[in-house]
Symmetry: C2
Subunit: 331 residues, 2 copies
């Protein structure tokens, strides 16, 4: 059975930030909530003496022709050698035979894409209808993907960014210039997280922080926060009390957020029961409603799920086939 090998460059042609990709990522949340997905816990290989970690995620969705097994790594000494710290790939399995049908050497691109789009799904259901000012904490890849994806679901006039390194802040503002030119959004840096949060209707946190960056008493009526940086025990972007203060707290997956998301701290401090939050799929499926009023404070805790990987990989594979992309290797 030949296997289609797709490189990062080819995958960047197949799948981009657009409404089609947004729709499959949103669908993935619904699948999870409707119990159509079999998603085992994340497998974690600690390469401790080399400062590295490998995470393996997978999910089978009943009715889909394929599912993905994603291998993602973070090796934190790589930048010293001029190499990126993260990399990744996906193995696509035929759900009917268990045979490998494709290998996506995406170096983490599809993860970046689906993670940004997951933020847009959260904003779609939880952010106020009218967002004037959006804000982002962090200046890395997700600070870009989250905001570009957000533009699919909300029109906003101003984007504020906070980053500790002014050079990286400037480079972020330059990179986002197309927003200014194409969408007329004014992009500028903010000198404190507090002033950013207070000035925004929507904030996305995208950092690997292990200390709370946003205090509970900065939250104001009508604010939505998506926290997507924390995806490991010990990581934290929001003060635990902020979660308890939200009118509506939503997780991508409760069981994951309780060990690796913002929820872990609220549970540890006894502020919240692990089962109290909704899951985003319970809202996308229509079972529960999202934001209930303009005054509500909403928080979405995203840790990333294997179902999203299966969803974005399925889209990319379908497109690659129709575009004739990839190299076939007989096995």
């Amino acid at each position: 059975m030949p296997i289609r090998i797709l490189t990062e460059a080819e995958l960047r042609e197949c799948a981009v930030i657009n409404h089609d990709a947004l729709a499959v990522v949103e669908q993935a949340f619904t699948w999870l909530a409707e119990d159509r997905a079999v998603m085992p816990p994340i497998m974690h290989v600690s390469v401790t003496d080399r400062h590295g970690d490998v995470d393996i995620k997978s999910a089978y969705v009943r009715g889909l022709p394929n599912f993905a097994v994603k291998i993602a790594s973070g090796f934190f000494d790589n930048p010293k050698r001029g190499l990126p710290s993260s990399s990744g790939m996906m193995v696509i399995m035929d759900a009917g035979t268990g045979f490998c049908t494709a290998i996506m050497l995406d170096n983490g691109y599809l993860t970046d894409l689906r993670t940004g789009l997951a933020g847009a799904v959260a904003a779609r259901y939880l952010a106020p209808e009218k967002v004037v000012t959006a804000g982002v904490i962090g200046t890395g890849i997700q600070a870009r993907y989250q905001i570009r994806s957000l533009a699919l679901v909300r029109t906003f006039e101003r984007l504020l960014v906070f980053g500790r390194d002014p050079a990286r802040c400037n480079s972020y503002i330059q990179d986002m210039e197309d927003m200014t030119i194409r969408l007329g959004i004014e992009v500028s840096a903010c000198d404190s997280i507090e002033s950013l949060v207070k000035a925004c209707d929507l904030v996305v946190t995208t950092t690997p922080s292990r200390q709370p960056l946003i205090r509970a008493d900065w939250l104001h009526p009508g604010l939505h926060v998506t926290a997507m940086g924390s995806d490991l025990g010990g990581k934290q972007e929001l003060e635990a009390a902020a979660l308890a203060r939200a009118s509506l707290l939503v997780c991508d997956r409760r069981a994951q957020c309780a060990v690796m998301g913002e929820l872990q701290h609220a549970v540890a401090e006894g502020l919240m029961d692990e089962n109290a939050p909704l899951e985003l799929g319970e809202i996308t499926s229509g079972k529960h409603s999202g934001r209930s009023s303009e005054e509500a404070i909403t928080i979405c805790d995203l840790t990333g799920t294997g179902v999203q990987d299966t969803a974005i990989a399925s889209l990319a594979l379908e497109r690659a086939k129709s575009m004739g992309l990839g190299t076939e290797i007989g096995s």
Copy 2:
């Protein structure tokens, strides 16, 4: 960074049943016992509505340049469509950077190879020095690999096979004819498991049975049994009382055997504590001794470990590089 893609045909050139491969599989047991390996629990994706299962195993060994992530599947409706039920592949990661360096499209060949060799490691340390008659229960691939590997560590004169299907028994005997011709071993079928066990000094069980095949009271002084068929909750080849009757019970990995090996039943029936058996690596490392006397009854419970996958894949990669095998794809 280019990635080397190796097909099954290429891997069959790189790694075969020989003393080099036996040495790395034996080494892998020692690594595990010496705590040089980081081996997370097996990840399991149940594709229940398609009668399929995917298992993912991995292990990082400190000091090795690479480690493997193995994806193995079993889809039990495949044979109805003329397809093999199992398939598999390995993704090889650079242990220093986390980048993927190679993909081995081995369709399970490397697993078959290291599983057979693991049986030989067990026999090397646990079987009597002098084996006159060896026996095998089952007539599938492992019935072949176990016995061919056994021939690396023990000289025997007779091989008995038991299988329920006479046609498969005959085809097994024909396939093993090189043993007869090259090694002067007489191969014949046995009409009951009881008579086989009673006639043998060493027995390997290689079936997917869910009922005990070997009764405790058939065990006789001087017998060694390697049970390698059970690798899932519910599978069983030996009566639980047989484990309690052994002078020496050895597991590849206690924690795995207690949930998916023969040990699960002995523990469930209260015949044995989960921590009572030795691990094979505690013997290969020299920390404990193996068979203590010619009269001892020894049993080895093998479920397969990620460390063995990393070991055999590392050998195959090294050989593929030196032989110039594989196709490089830039990612």
